[in-house]
Amino acid sequence: MRMKLVTIVVEPVLEPRITAALKSLGATGWTVTEARGTGSRGTRMGEVPGEGRRIETVVSATAAGRILTYISDHYFADFAIIAFVSDVEVLRGEKYGADT
């Protein structure tokens, strides 16, 4: 089933807030990896410079839209963050809240 993969890279301090938000915006799960990054704010994301979290979640197109809006409303102004969306094919789409 065609779904969306939303990938968010963000300062570690926001991880709990963002995963809590993902849940309430319709994500049924997510995967987090430790990452380092460089962007417009330089290489500083955490206590140890450059440290960050890469969060990815497979969701329906509508949930993906909600997530992007949430991220841009709450975090674009003040935080080191990027979010991007791609198309993925997944089995058992209903498990991940596929649009019907």
Partner: protein, 336 residues
């Protein structure tokens, strides 16, 4: 005193810090693995907690309560003084002023340890209950400063469109308790408070078997930790220009003011010169572990470059090299 300063400059921890700075300046790829950094900080915090608890088990409560009051006074005075200096003299925004003040109101555990080592090697060791004071100072300064920041900011927003302001206040309330809990349950507090209680319960007898690990290895582990601190501090040096002359002055003069306040209150509370010097160092130091995430969440519009660069790149090395001997000297003067 010249002797002590020289001895301080030639101590393994200051030299290890310098090595870290130099390594970064020559653009070495050398870093400590992140997990090693965290492991060392867990070890150091737990060790001072435990040892502090063991010594606390031999301290009569009567000698302890005045210094505790002095510490809480430090926790209120230093963030307020820092905020006023930044807002009134430096004309910084409410968020930036409060954010930086939160760092100076709290305490840096590594600076504390360095001060303990210094006064001990100067022949004037601090009281055994100083680690307990350390745990008292971790949180209040952060909350005083954040409270100032949030209250002032919502005043400013009173003029803004009502609905926005309401939303902002609503979300502030939600985040406030989150921030408070995060500081009180953070790594530093769990290990220090937990270590203190365990040390208190096990006493000298239970301490003996774990002592080779927690005491024998302490100074060596601290040396490696300061190597990493040097790397982290030097990482910030590139931002010194962005921070501006006022903040550079703030990062060196404010510690002297806060340190003097701490030494004076410690003296008033009956601490020995060593103890007063360590309390002064606590007052003078700027937190760079507990404060940054709390400020990041509670005052996101405060510029992290300011507070991280100041705490790590300016005030930490300043205290390590100049501040600690100075607060010690102040304490000796008062004690005369």
């Amino acid at each position: 005193m010249a002797d002590l300063i020289r001895a301080n400059l030639l101590s393994p921890i200051v030299l290890a810090f310098a090595l870290g700075v130099v390594a970064k300046l020559i653009r070495s790829e050398f870093t400590l693995p992140k997990d090693l950094y965290v492991a060392l900080s867990i070890y150091l915090l737990f060790a001072i907690g435990l040892k502090g608890g063991v010594e606390l088990s031999q301290t009569p409560l009567s000698t302890f309560w005045l210094p505790a009051v002095a510490t809480l006074a430090v926790g209120v005075l230093t963030p307020v003084l820092s905020y006023i200096a930044l807002r009134q003299l430096g004309r910084f925004s409410v968020a930036d002023s409060a954010g930086i003040a939160a760092h100076y109101g709290s305490v840096s555990a590594v600076t504390f340890i360095a001060a303990q080592e210094f006064v001990a090697s100067a022949g004037t060791p601090a009281e055994g209950f100083l680690p307990t004071l350390l745990t008292l100072l971790e949180a209040p300064g952060i909350h005083v400063a954040l409270a100032i920041g949030v209250v002032q900011a919502s005043r400013a927003r009173a003029a803004a469109p009502a609905s926005e302001a309401r939303a902002a206040i609503h979300s502030e309330h939600a985040h406030w308790s989150e921030t408070l809990r995060a500081v009180l349950t953070g790594r530093t507090m769990v290990l220090l408070v937990g270590g203190l209680i365990i040390g208190l319960l096990i006493g000298e007898r239970g301490w003996e078997p774990v002592r080779p690990f927690f005491e024998g290895g302490f100074r060596g582990a601290l040396t490696i930790f300061l190597l990493e601190m040097g790397l982290l501090a030097a990482e910030r040096l590139g931002d010194l220009r962005r921070v501006g002359a006022f903040l550079l002055g703030f990062g060196t003069l404010m510690p002297l003011v806060n340190g003097a306040v701490g030494v004076a209150l410690g003296h008033w509370a009956g601490l020995s010169p060593g103890g007063a010097a360590v309390l002064g160092t606590m007052a003078a130091s700027a937190s760079y572990i507990a404060a940054p995430p709390a400020v990041r969440l509670a005052l996101p519009e405060a510029n992290p470059t300011y507070y991280l660069t100041l705490a790590l790149g300016v005030t930490f090395p300043f205290n390590l090299i100049v501040g600690i001997p100075a607060y010690h000297q102040m304490a000796l003067w008062l004690a005369r």
